[in-house]
């Protein structure tokens, strides 16, 4: 059975308070439609894992929510506001309430790690240099980087360090909502597990809402409160992982009960 987010709405939310609400979203490039009337809710304080096959448009949806891809129809409401209809000042204020971790980090290559983290603070807040330095160092420590990484340039960092530094930058303004695009891709299993743990800890301490695009089944099992699956331009299922594991949708069955998924699914009691 396929059910859309809307059919099973309300009850699934842990708090009922909706942070992101996407309705009937249509996104297309040329004559190809990538999103065909997609509905999705992200509730406040939850970690939502977003899965889907390669090329199904996970990144497109993230970019559409962030306003980087034009939409053709439907509405996207974030913190209860429709961003497209906001005046520019309010729109900027809204954008300062979220942090984004891009898949490849997207650190500014001409700035050091510390300068990267201070960039959003410097641009949008009036802080003393001392406090900015201290906060940047605090963020660097929070994400598990060594203090000497602060003065390194992105090209001098390893893949895992880039992810951590990018997360520190995403958290620079203490956002309420964090978008993570494949946060654990390219990390070794130990590093990935640490990163999952880090996200879980930060989510609890800072009370974040996390929207996480991922391919990592371990992340889904260990830190996601809810999982939404994307296929054929729609959310085919959304809910706690157990619900998705029992779904009959062929793609979900293949995803969770395939060679790799099956091993992990076996460890979860039905």
């Amino acid at each position: 059975m396929t059910f859309s987010e809307r059919d099973g709405s309300g009850a699934i939310g842990p708090h009922g308070d909706v942070t992101i609400s996407v309705r009937d979203l249509v996104v297309g490039f040329g004559d190809k439609l990538v999103m065909k009337g997609l509905d999705l809710d992200v509730y406040r304080g939850e970690v939502l894992g977003f899965v889907g096959g390669s090329g199904q448009g996970k990144s497109v949806l993230t970019r559409a929510i962030l306003g980087l891809v034009p939409t053709r129809g439907g509405s996207i409401r974030i913190f209860g506001k429709n961003r497209d209809s906001l005046p520019p000042a309010e729109r900027r204020a809204l954008e300062q309430r979220w942090g984004v971790l891009f898949q490849n980090g997207a650190l500014f290559s001409g700035l050091t790690v510390k300068q990267n983290i201070q960039m959003p603070m410097r641009e949008t807040r009036d802080l003393s240099p001392r406090l900015m330095d201290e906060l940047a160092m605090l963020k660097i420590e929070l994400v598990g980087l060594k203090p000497d990484a602060a003065d390194k340039f992105p090209s001098e960092l390893s893949g895992g360090m880039v992810k951590r530094a990018a997360l520190a930058r995403a958290l620079a303004l203490d956002p309420e909502l964090v978008f993570l695009d494949e946060p654990t891709s390219g990390l070794d299993p130990i590093g990935a597990a640490e990163f999952d743990e880090l996200i879980a800890t930060l989510q609890k301490t800072l009370g974040l809402t996390v929207f996480m695009v991922t391919h990592d089944l371990d992340s889904l099992y260990s830190i996601c409160d809810r999982v939404a699956a994307l296929a054929e331009g729609k959310v085919i299922a959304a809910g706690p992982l157990e619900t998705l594991l029992q779904s009959d949708h062929p793609w979900l069955k293949a995803y969770f009960h395939g060679v790799r998924g099956g091993r992990l699914a076996a460890t979860i009691p039905d």
Partner: protein, 380 residues
């Protein structure tokens, strides 16, 4: 959010020998500098007492910045021998206060040296780096020549398709702009020549002026400078971004020669295209000169051609054309070398492209000067 932050002023109720500070509102980064002021106030109030109770029950929102500042105030007061107790913190605020526990970050050692010493060291560094660059340039030229020798003896390694593709980009696509620029410059030289020589009644010498100036110098120089700006920059940016995305390393680990695959087709395309472009440029400039001479100076095309034939010989034309491939080689080598020297950052790519264009234009002019001396001494 801003309204909440405005209430962040600590509410002080003095106790016997101490003070109770009740914090209220949002203690978040959004309050910016005001938050720092409030933290300072906590310290100022606290210093006057022997113990301080910080009451967090009125705090609606707390983030790492707020927690950090509260912790810092606490530490500063503890340093002044004031006992600090935090009360009524919500569980999630407790976790946050613990995560943002105050710690000293070792200040970065930044050596202070005098401006004179810094200036001298900068000059020294610049001299050393240009010497090193010259050395690298010569080594690169040597490597290029040896690869060319290898390709000449192993024709299988000759990349014809790539060469033709680059010739289209470098040669064919720049033809329109080069024709236009040279047409204009030819016209301007003709107009000035006629205007200035009119006073001496020597208008017909304009044709010699145009012919010699364009064929010997202007045609090739303008074309080379255009190509350095247009194609040299493109080559540096292309190879530089390939370097940044590890594509160059990928070639290397496949056992392919970077010079053979990336450098040779581009440099050869430039060497082959520039003489052709120079020829086109010469014709365009002469044509522009002829049009202006006709319209402005009253020299008919028939008279223009016959005067031109008297003024120039094959050698005048050859002087320009011979220079072209050498200039192309210099542009191509500098562009590819600078592209390969790109480091990881976007800034570095920008720097390399700038340096490539500046250096190649400079070298083109230097080369032109050397050729002028050479041709003068062999009376060509």
């Amino acid at each position: 959010m801003a309204a909440g932050a405005a209430q962040a002023l600590p509410d002080v109720s003095p106790l016997e020998g101490g003070a109770r500070l009740a914090l209220a509102g949002d203690w978040t980064l959004a309050a910016s500098r005001r938050l720092e002021q409030k933290a300072q106030e906590i310290v100022d109030f606290g210093r006057r007492s022997t113990f301080v109770t910080i009451d967090l029950s009125g705090v609606s929102r707390l983030d790492t910045a707020g927690a950090w500042l509260i912790n810092r105030s606490r530490r500063l007061l503890a340093g002044a021998n004031v006992a600090v107790v935090i009360e009524h913190a919500r569980p999630e605020h407790d976790i946050l206060l613990e995560e943002a526990a105050y710690r000293e970050f070792p200040p970065r050692a930044r050596g202070r040296i005098s401006i004179v010493a810094e200036l001298l060291s900068d000059i020294g560094r610049a001299v050393v780096s240009s010497a090193r660059e010259f050395y690298r340039g010569v080594a690169f030229l040597g490597e290029f020549v040896s690869v060319m020798a290898f390709v000449a003896t192993h024709p299988k390694h000759f990349r014809g398709t790539s060469l033709v593709a680059h010739m289209e980009l470098v040669g064919l696509r720049s033809a329109p702009i080069i024709i236009l620029i040279n047409l204009l410059v030819g016209s301007i030289v003709a107009q000035q020549g006629i205007f200035q020589l009119m006073r001496f009644g020597a208008t017909s010498y304009t044709v010699s002026l145009i012919g010699i100036l364009v064929l010997r110098e202007l045609g090739v120089l303008l074309t080379a400078i255009m190509i350095a700006g247009r194609s040299g920059s493109a080559i540096t940016a292309e190879i530089g971004s390939m370097k940044m995305r590890e594509e160059v390393d990928a070639l290397r680990v496949m056992g392919l020669s970077v010079i053979e695959v990336l450098v040779a087709p581009r440099v050869l395309a430039l060497v082959a295209s520039l003489p052709i472009l120079t020829f086109i440029a010469d014709i365009a400039a002469l044509f522009g000169g002829m049009l202006v001479s006709w319209g402005y100076g009253g020299i008919s095309p028939v008279a223009f051609t016959s005067l031109l034939r008297d003024a120039i010989g094959l050698n005048t034309f050859m002087v320009g054309i011979i220079k072209a491939p050498f200039m192309a080689l210099v542009i191509g080598l500098i562009a590819t070398m600078d592209g390969l020297a790109t480091l990881g950052s976007a800034e570095s790519l920008g720097r390399q492209v700038t340096s490539s264009v500046v250096k190649s234009i400079f070298m083109v002019i230097v080369l032109d000067g050397l050729f002028a001396v050479f041709f003068a001494s062999i009376h060509y």
